[in-house]
Subunit: 194 residues, 2 copies
C-alpha cells in the first residue's frame, strides 16, 4: 500500500473530498463535484483516483498515516511506559484538534458505505492502534501494580474520551487545549491506574 505524502496533489484531493463528504454527505457528492471544487478536469481527478470508493478508502488510510506520523512515531523512543502513555494522550488530543487534518481524521469514525474488502483493510490498521494502546496500558499497569480495570476497557475509555472531542470542543470556547490535555490526562491516569 503506497503511503500518501502530506503535500502534493493527492492529499489536496483527499482533503477537499473529505470536506465535501462532510458538508453534503458521501452519497450526495459526485466525482464531478470533487473535480469542480478542486478546479481540476475530470480526467485529472481520474488520473489519481478511479472511483469515489477509492477516494474514501484513501482518506481513511491517510488518516491512519497521519496518526502514525504524529502520535506513534514520536513516542517510540520514550523508554518509560508512563511517560510514553502521557505523550500519546497529548499527541492524540493535538491531532484531533488540528484543524488542517480535521476533515480527514473525523471520517475514520463515521459510518460510510465502504466496500467490505476496503473496510477490512482500514479496520486492520485501526486495530493495530488499539492493540498498541492496550499493550502500553498493560505495561503501565504492571509498573504500577494496578489491576482494578482491564487494559481493554481502559483503552476504549481513553479512545472514547479523545475521539469524542470533535463532537463538542470549540477552540474559541473557554477551555484551552493545554487545559484539556492536562485534565484528560489526570482523569485517565487517576481512573485507570489506582
Amino acid at each position: 500500500m503506497p503511503r500518501e505524502n502530506s503535500t502534493g496533489a493527492r492529499p489536496e484531493i483527499l482533503r477537499t473530498a473529505a470536506r465535501l463528504f462532510r458538508e453534503r454527505g458521501y452519497d450526495a457528492t459526485s466525482m464531478n463535484d470533487i473535480s469542480a471544487a478542486l478546479k481540476l478536469s475530470k480526467g485529472g481527478l481520474y488520473h489519481h483516483f478511479r472511483s469515489k470508493d477509492e477516494i474514501l478508502y484513501h482518506i481513511m488510510n491517510h488518516a491512519m498515516d497521519i496518526t502514525e506520523d504524529r502520535v506513534l512515531n514520536p513516542i517510540r523512543d520514550i523508554a518509560d511506559p508512563e511517560e510514553r502513555l502521557r505523550a500519546l494522550i497529548r499527541l492524540h488530543i493535538e491531532l484531533v484538534l488540528r484543524a488542517r487534518d480535521r476533515e480527514i481524521t473525523v471520517i475514520l469514525h463515521e459510518n460510510h458505505p465502504l466496500p467490505a474488502g476496503l473496510r477490512k483493510k482500514v479496520n486492520v490498521r485501526k486495530k493495530g492502534y488499539i492493540h498498541y494502546l492496550e499493550q502500553l496500558i498493560m505495561e503501565v499497569q504492571r509498573a504500577r501494580d494496578s489491576h482494578n480495570v482491564t487494559h481493554r476497557a481502559a483503552a476504549f475509555a481513553l479512545l472514547g474520551m479523545i475521539n469524542w472531542i470533535y463532537q463538542w470542543y470549540r477552540p474559541e470556547g473557554g477551555l484551552k487545549e493545554e487545559d484539556l490535555v492536562r485534565q484528560y490526562t489526570e482523569i485517565f491516569f487517576a481512573g485507570a491506574f489506582r
Copy 2:
C-alpha cells in the same frame, strides 16, 4: 413538540428509516425505499411524515425522548448525588447497548445534513442533557470536596466514554455488560473525583 410513543406506526417508521439511513447512507435512501421496506404505500408514509428531513429530525427527537425516559426520569428521585450519578452511568450504558433502539440512538452522533432550524432544536435538547450531567458532577464534586478537574471536562470525558461504546462493543465478545458498567464507573469516579 409532540412526543413519540414507543409503539405504533410512527416509531416503527422511525426505526426502519434509521436502519436504512445507516445501512445505505441518508442521501442514498429515498422516501420510496422507506415505504417499500415498511410495506407501506407512499401515501401512507406521507400521512405520517412529509419529508426525509422531517423523518431524520423525528428520529433524533425520539432518541432524546428515549434518553429522558430511560436515563433521566428513573433517577430524578434519587436524593444522593453520587448514587444518582452512578445510576445515570449505568442507565446510559444500558441505553447505548440496547439493540432495539440502537439505530435510533446512534444517529444522534453522526453528521447528517439537517436543515439549520431543525438541527438547532435537536442541539437544544442535547445541551439540556449535558447541562444536567454537568450540574450533577458539580454536586458530587462539592459533596466530596474534589476540584481537580472542571465539571465541563469531566462531563465530556464521561459522554465520550459512553457514547463511543457503539463503535467497538460487541455483545458476543468477552466483556459482559455489567463488567463494562462496573469498570467505566470505577474509571470515571476515580478519575474525576480525587
